[in-house]
């Protein structure tokens, strides 16, 4: 039977099961992986799961990761290589309360800003270093706090701005009774510091084995088919995601909305990495400050050997 001989592959997600990863769940649920003779296991992530560590430990074959974190890991000796980039655009924003008086980046000094860490802080840090704003408190700089799991700091007025994804946390703020007029939103793309999110990464050694490359090609093909399916059937895709959520904390309305926003980010992507966008990411990470996120331009951090076979 094909199920027996199917090639096994483990995918480590960056975060919990949600519409952000709909393409993979759709591909799994709709048998797209099976059709490619793949037996894929999807391991959801969590706040303390660092996908690069998981892959370095050998517990996953492919990971979903943001490019800044992946490049930083590469400098730390985990040879991650981007093999495909389903997310064409960045969804990261800094969302501020209008009543805090912040209306442009010049207003940041002296304010308290909520930032995600755990490898998600790099876009923010490189933006701040481009603006020349120190992040260690004081009147000149901003006070950075490590934002927890949600947007409460903004709602409760503990921070002037918090990090949000346009497909998720932003809507939590809206749900909490803020209208878009009450908020000032800084989109990283608009600020010229866009970084690539949610790419697929493997270890260099995987690419040395042609059989593995073939396997990965089939995987990316099926995954992209999943994303396309999700584009076409957003509501059903959201329901599939809900089905795979083991915590029961997700709501249908929220996931459907997230699916819509995520589809905007994946729209137009074939999975092939836009090298120009990758170079922009590298530039913004290398640029400025005494404490750049990466210290030298990476070589071999992405490859098209997998997407070439699509």
């Amino acid at each position: 039977a094909p199920a027996l001989s199917a090639d096994e592959l483990t995918l480590q997600l960056k975060w919990v099961t949600q519409a952000q990863f709909a393409g993979y769940y759709v591909a799994l649920h709709e048998g797209l992986y099976e059709a490619e003779d793949l037996d894929v296991t999807i391991n959801p992530g969590g706040p303390d799961i660092a996908p690069p560590q998981v892959i370095a430990g050998g517990a996953a074959d492919v990971i979903v990761e943001w490019m800044p974190a992946a490049l930083a890991a590469r400098e730390r000796g985990v040879p991650l290589v981007n093999i495909a980039q389903p997310f064409a655009r960045s969804g990261m924003m800094l969302t501020c309360r209008a009543d805090s008086g912040v209306s442009s980046p010049e207003d940041f000094p002296g304010e308290t800003l909520g930032v995600w860490f755990f490898g998600n802080e790099y876009p923010f840090l490189s933006w701040m270093s481009q603006l020349g704003i120190p992040t260690d408190g004081g009147d000149e700089g901003v006070t950075v706090v490590r934002q927890g799991f949600n947007v409460d700091p903004l709602i409760q007025g503990q921070a002037a701005c918090v990090s949000t994804m346009n497909y998720n946390e932003y809507w939590q703020v809206i749900d909490a009774g803020f209208s878009p007029d009450d908020l000032v939103v800084f989109n990283y793309t608009d600020q010229g510091v866009a970084t690539l999110e949610d790419g697929l990464y493997v270890l260099e050694e995987s690419l040395e084995d042609p059989e593995m490359v073939d396997k990965l090609t089939r995987f990316v093909r099926a995954s992209m088919a999943g994303w396309t399916w999700a584009q076409e059937n957003p509501e059903e895709a959201a329901m599939i995601v809900l089905e795979y959520d083991q915590t029961g904390a997700q709501t249908e309305a929220h996931q459907v909305r997230m699916m819509g926003e995520v589809n905007n980010l994946t729209a137009g992507s074939t999975g092939v990495l836009d090298v120009a966008a990758a170079e922009t990411t590298v530039d913004s990470l290398l640029f400025g400050g005494d404490d750049p996120v990466i210290t030298e331009r990476p070589t071999g951090a992405w490859t098209s050997v997998v997407t070439d076979g699509l």
């Binding site: 303390d48 560590q53 370095a56 730390r76 000796g77 985990v78 992040t135 706090v145 490590r146 927890g148």
Partner: protein, 290 residues
């Protein structure tokens, strides 16, 4: 590869066996006085060294990726090179949150125990509820405290207060009842007042229990503060550092922080145990045979 690889692993195992044999020898020695104290220190140190050597040998010998588990030598290098970070984190987490929370939590537990102790009614009411409360997993309390007390150390101290309060309350109450019936009757025959009995009999008799709680709480407090920092902090603190360092794959820094935490915890524990010995010198567990 030559010497590294498996031979390193074998060397570590050999060291382990030799150290074990040495300890067997040392423990068998019949000494007294200063040499005995020395031996009693040497044995656990040798044991700890064995663990470290085994760890080093296994990580290097089996080529464990250092982002999964770095060898101790690398952790040590990191400790030496990052003292400023470690010190700042230690200040934030230990010197501010842990100490404030520990003092307040233990103090509050003690005071409430003394107040409640006078009334069987309150005691009967608070004890079961207190036991239930101490069963609350603090991971759940931490985000709530961050919500209530903000991002900085006060919210961590609040978590520590909640964690340490009940062990102190329960132990102090038990301790206040530890004095024997006859000893209390004795006070009664002197027509001793409540505060006199409290100070001269019940508190001294309660000391072993109170110190028990102080010891339990000293490890709880550190863990509580570090865990609470996973739910929102300013960008300094041991818990903050541990979680961001995992994210950025600085696992050696993680272990450096763990080392500091374990060192601080053990030293605190040791210090309290030492004070306990001096205060409860009279307790049978602390005095040697007549």
């Amino acid at each position: 590869m030559g010497l590294t690889g498996t031979s390193l692993l074998w060397a570590a195992l050999a060291f382990w066996i030799v150290a074990w044999a040495a300890n067997q020898r040392l423990a068998g020695l019949n000494l007294s006085g200063a040499p005995k104290v020395l031996i009693n220190l040497l044995i656990p140190v040798l044991f700890g060294a064995t663990l470290l050597v085994l760890w080093e040998g296994i990580t290097r010998g089996l080529d464990v990726p250092q982002v999964v588990m770095p060898p101790p030598s690398m952790v040590w290098e990191r400790i030496v090179s990052s003292t400023d970070i470690l010190w700042a984190d230690f200040q934030q987490t230990f010197l501010k949150a842990v100490i404030a929370g520990y003092v307040m939590g233990c103090g509050l537990g003690f005071v409430v125990a003394i107040l409640v102790d006078r009334s069987p009614f309150w005691k009967a009411g608070i004890m079961p509820v207190g036991n239930l409360m101490s069963a609350l997993p603090i991971i759940g309390i931490a985000p709530i405290m961050v919500m209530w007390f903000g991002f900085d150390w006060p919210s961590k101290a609040a978590v520590v207060v909640v964690m340490t309060f009940f062990p102190m309350l329960v132990n102090t109450l038990a301790g206040l009842n530890a004095s024997g019936q006859m000893e209390r009757d004795l006070m009664h025959t002197y027509a001793s007042s409540y505060p006199q009995t409290l100070i001269k009999l019940r508190l001294p008799a309660a000391m072993p229990f109170i110190f028990n709680a102080l010891k339990i709480n000293s490890t709880l407090a550190l863990i509580g503060a570090i865990v609470a920092e996973f739910f929102g902090t300013p960008i300094v603190g041991m818990g903050f550092r541990i979680s961001t360092a995992v994210g950025s794959l600085n696992i050696d820094l993680v272990w450096a922080e763990i080392f500091v935490a374990a060192l601080a915890g053990s030293l605190t524990y040791g210090a309290i145990a030492l004070i306990e010995r001096r205060v409860t010198f009279w307790h049978p567990s602390n005095r040697r045979a007549r």
